[in-house]
Amino acid sequence: MTNTITPDTSATADISVEEQQFNDLIEADSRIEPRDWMPEGYRKSLVRQISQHAHSEIIGMQPESNWITRAPSLKRKAILMAKVQDEAGHGLYLYSAAQTLGATRDDMTDALIAGKARYSSIFNYPTPTWADMGSIGWLVDGAAICNQVPLCRASYGPYGRAMVRICKEESFHQRQGFEILLELMAGTQEQRQMAQESVDRWYWPALMMFGPPDDDSPNSAQSMAWKIKRHSNDELRQRFVNMLVPQAAVLGVTLPDPDLHFNEQTQQWDLGEIDWTEFHEVLAGRGPNNAQRLQRRRDAHEDGAWVRDAAAAYAIKQTARKQFARTAEMASK
């Protein structure tokens, strides 16, 4: 009897069973979970995106923590502390999500403090006035929410779940920022000027948070095919500006774009040209505060090393002690 192996024609020749399963799950809009098989590119892409996102939350604590001791009232101080604490929490949710893909916390932290990892360029801008706490909440967190709401449906389960928690908490951030600006705009001439000046500085960097234009966004197409990303950069940016214009009217601030106008045909707000050279400069590490932000993170990590080591040593000692007690107890029986 001859043993003939009939090729299985039902499966595509160059695709493995696991890959087919993965593709089917993505196709069905289902979720990929940590122990599922996934293409190396998918894993890499997710680790990059999630860890960058986590770093952004952690570095993002700095521009605001700067104002905790200078907040104008005890209430504002408490709010700001809660917000900065949230950012720390968001960073941790995201690091945990990245860890489910096999990345280690230590590797991610090392990459950040060595200047090898990226984080959102927005946090490299300074916060010289109190009104900046308002602009960060309204514009920066507003843009973040716009970006993050669709990420709640990202195809990778742990990432989507982390984003659900984050989005719930971000809406407080945006509202408190809006309220700071609203109060300033109802104040003295100087306070109104302070608010407007701050909006002028943050508006364009906030629009850049959505990333480069679609035709210059190398990772976007693959990310969308994998359903990690659900909308293009330009699409989300447009959505954000459409929401912003009526909110600016409520505040009584002007948006610093002379070309901004309503397009009757598309029923959208057309915006002026974005200065992408600035974006690339800041991303390349030449923004106003890049060096300072990284140095502060590095210092915090190094200053905290003894605490981490001490806690680990204590835990090891306690475990050993418990084990010893158990052995002694068994021996006495």
Partner: protein
């Protein structure tokens, strides 16, 4: 099989966190965190996952202590319930229209 995050290069082990949002409900997995021991794991879990009164009770479990079903054997492992739709009430359609059934 190693638990993600439980590599030799991590100083602190990974813990999985479960929160009971209210009396009468079960603890639900909310995420994970790093902590040197169980006492600090519970405290970190409180700070990280219950900042807005999301819970009345927290469990922490060392991630390494969790045993899961083999993801590759997914189909075969859970197969026994497939094709047994008579285990569901909706299988019995003849009683339709009869009240309190």
């Amino acid at each position: 099989m190693t638990t993600p995050g439980d590599s030799a290069s991590e100083i602190w082990p990974l813990w999985e966190v479960f929160v009971r949002s209210n009396r009468g409900l079960s603890h639900v997995h909310v995420g994970s965190l790093h902590a040197p021991d169980e006492t600090l794991a519970v405290r970190n879990a409180r700070d990280l996952y219950t900042r807005r009164s999301e819970g009345v009770s927290v469990w922490v479990v060392p991630a390494a202590a969790i045993t899961t079903s083999d993801p590759d054997a997914k189909g075969a492992f859970f197969e026994s319930s497939a094709g047994k739709n008579y285990r569901h009430a909706s299988y019995y359609s003849k009683s339709e229209g009869v009240k309190h059934l």
